[in-house]
């Protein structure tokens, strides 16, 4: 396809985006969502920073957890409930109006036409980031701290989240007869992934591995300052597959039988490639407080553990001790040990009425030796692993802790910016574009 034809298609999609009421509503509401999240987060951060709170609390306060993640959490909501409708509209309007019949005959492949839609949707998602960027700038203006690698990592997570939403929306619109049906498909998918998250908690095995790639779980690793390459690969692959699926179903000149067969092939190929991508173990801990890693001396010591380690956990999914163990130990162990097998042995969901003899125990097996421990404290667990493997426990006394960045600031001007200025900018821009370009939102 000639590049100028692609540019013309890109311009067409851009104009269609500007004519879309869903896009302007996304911009309008995302300002309120980000504003509310930011103002609440800064206020809570100030309280925890000593503004009337316990004196010890400010130690270890991280702006990533305290401000950035909750503020940008608004985009998770937007990617779930608002952005898919922008994507759906880009396809459904052409199907319903008959424009698709013209579009399919225009120069270029269907792939290039979907690529144009994808690029414009990506642009829409980045424009919707403006309130979030303003929030980060405001935080800096209050004297707040951010750590660039973990901030960029968080933004990458939200970029991928948006890409996935765009892909799902476009695919749903291609599959469904109308926009309403497409919206139902998209929401059903989202609810399905929530259910998978719930079911997989504390289960281990394939279900847990699958659940770690749901949109919510995938974003969570970025929110924790962890860049898992497998997550990046899987989300990009699934998003691309969704666009390909859209291409299959928008090709209305093909029989339903052909499209079903092509879909089956796509699902098999995607599953295979995703499986390979999911097995990429490389990851980078980009958090400033290294929350996803053991201390440097422990990581060096763990490199001496060469035999497979099996951990059997007798804790139910809703037991807070399991959450502690997952967050503080297992997550780091999975990154540090190549040969780690985790089994969740508790049979009940809450553990409240569990009558199992071993409930609460964690069994470590390595090289034919076993140790049973109940503690979920990082140092205790590591020492047990060192004992089993015959590795000398390192001296941790020289390790420096994360200082924390307490800040008792008030969210000055934030309410005016997010609740007044941003909505006005959005509404005036929409009105001006509507008036000058002769377009009207639908």
């Amino acid at each position: 396809m000639r590049s100028h034809s692609f540019l013309r298609l890109l311009v067409k999609e851009f104009r269609e985006l500007l004519a879309s009421r869903a896009f302007w509503l996304l911009l309008l509401f995302v300002g309120f969502l980000v504003g509310h999240s930011f103002i609440t987060a800064v206020g809570l951060y100030a309280e925890m920073s000593g503004n009337g709170g316990p004196a010890a609390l400010p130690q270890g306060l991280s702006p990533l957890d305290g401000v950035l993640v909750p503020t940008w959490g608004a985009y998770d909501l937007a990617a779930t409930l608002l952005f898919p409708f922008v994507a759906i509209r880009m396809v459904s309007s052409e199907k319903e109006s008959g424009a698709l019949k013209l579009l399919l005959q225009l120069p270029g492949t269907l792939g290039s036409k979907l690529a144009a839609k994808g690029l414009v949707l990506l642009f829409a998602w980045l424009v919707a980031w403006l309130p979030g960027i303003v929030a980060v700038v405001l935080w800096h203006s209050y004297g707040g701290h951010t750590y660039a690698p973990e901030t960029v990592n968080l933004l990458l997570g939200h970029l991928l989240r948006g890409l996935l939403s765009a892909g799902l929306g476009v695919a749903a619109a291609a599959l469904a007869d109308g926009a309403a049906s497409a919206a139902i498909i998209t929401l059903a998918f989202t609810v399905g992934t929530w259910a998978l998250d719930f079911v997989a908690a504390g289960r281990g095995g394939f279900v847990q591995q699958l659940a770690s790639y749901t949109p919510t779980a995938a974003l969570r690793s970025f929110e924790q300052g962890l860049l898992r390459f497998s997550v990046v690969i899987v989300i990009v692959l699934v998003s691309c597959a969704a666009f390909v699926l859209a291409g299959i179903w928008l090709n209305i000149g093909r029989t339903i039988k052909f499209r079903l067969a092509a879909t089956l092939v796509l699902v098999i190929v995607t599953a295979g490639v995703v499986w390979v991508g999911a097995n990429v173990r490389a990851s980078r801990d980009l958090s400033e407080n290294r929350r996803n890693s053991f201390s440097a001396v422990d990581e060096a010591a763990l490199r001496g553990v060469n035999q497979p380690l099996k951990i059997t956990i007798f804790l139910s999914p809703e037991d807070p001790r399991l959450t502690d163990f997952e967050q503080n130990v297992l997550r780091k162990l999975r990154r540090s040990l190549d040969k780690l097998d985790v089994e969740y042995a508790a049979s009940s969901r809450t553990g409240l009425f569990d009558s199992e003899e071993h409930y609460g125990e964690i069994l470590y097996e390595l090289g034919g030796q076993k140790i049973v421990e109940r503690s979920t404290i990082e140092e205790v667990v590591l020492d047990q692993i060192y004992t089993l493997s015959g590795v000398t426990s390192p001296d941790r006394s020289g390790e420096e802790g994360f200082p924390g960045y307490p800040l008792a600031a008030q969210p000055k001007h934030a309410a005016a910016i997010f609740y007044l200025f941003w909505p006005l900018v959005v509404i005036i821009t929409w009105w001006l574009l509507r008036a000058t370009k002769g377009t009207k939102s639908t």
Binding site: S97, A99, Q105, P107, G438, T439
Partner: protein, 232 residues
């Protein structure tokens, strides 16, 4: 130029086209006529690759028409669509003009007969049926494929507009372009078409010039309406 052989199309168990065959000659205006539900639009959409066929072959200058070849050979303008409804007419036409690298004079030449100036700043969504039809005709005439398929090009047009569009379509063939138009108004078809394909209940009933059809129907001086009634 284009040969269609054995075109068959079913929607489920319902047969819409049954073994339809005809040829389109270079530089002619070929009319596809028949009553509502005869399968005219289905023929055009199958030809354009927008509907899968159950069987049938399309040959362009004797060679099978591939998907890519189809895109380079023909362009189909559907009836009753509302493309990119929130954009202005001017933008829509300029989009097609530039996409197909047409000289600005081409659009200017269409503006008069299709009375595009008066609706240029209007949004497509606000156009009347006739205005929409004129815009869609302009869209089709701005493309560059040698074969243009038009579904009901006169539907929604008044008498004067119909006459102007007929003149415009005839002049289009002088540039070497071939037109294949579906028309349910037989009087209009007789005025603008060089040859005709009669379709009834998904079957090709007859094909030829008006004189040839008169001969087939044994109606010397008979109009198209009489011929159609005699043959179906």
């Amino acid at each position: 130029m284009l040969t269609v052989e054995g075109l068959t199309k079913k929607f489920g168990s319902r047969s819409v086209l049954a073994d339809v065959s005809f040829t389109v000659g270079a530089g002619e205006v070929l009319g596809l006529i028949g009553p509502n539900g005869a399968g005219k639009t289905t023929v055009l959409e199958c030809l354009a690759g927008l509907l899968p066929t159950n069987s049938g072959t399309f040959k362009y200058h004797g060679n099978p028409l591939s998907a890519r070849g189809r895109k380079e050979t023909l362009f189909y303008v559907p009836d009753g669509i509302l493309p990119w409804a929130q954009q202005t007419v001017k933008w829509l036409l300029t989009f097609f003009e530039r996409l197909y690298s047409q000289a600005p004079e081409k659009l200017a030449a269409l503006a008069g007969p299709l009375r595009l100036e008066e609706i240029a700043r209007s949004r497509v969504a606000t156009l009347s049926k006739g205005e929409r039809k004129r815009v869609l005709l302009a869209v089709g005439l701005l493309t560059s494929q040698p074969l243009l398929l038009l579904d009901e090009p006169f539907d929604g047009l008044d008498l004067r507009q119909t006459r102007d569009v007929m003149t415009l379509l005839r002049s289009e063939t002088t540039t070497g372009r071939t037109l294949f138009v579906s028309i349910h108004q037989l009087n209009d078809a007789a005025k603008v078409c060089d040859r005709l394909v009669l379709l009834n209940a998904g079957k090709r009933v007859a094909e030829g010039t008006l004189a040839e059809l008169q001969a087939q129907a044994n109606l010397k001086d008979g109009g198209l309406e009489e011929i159609f009634l005699a043959l179906t």
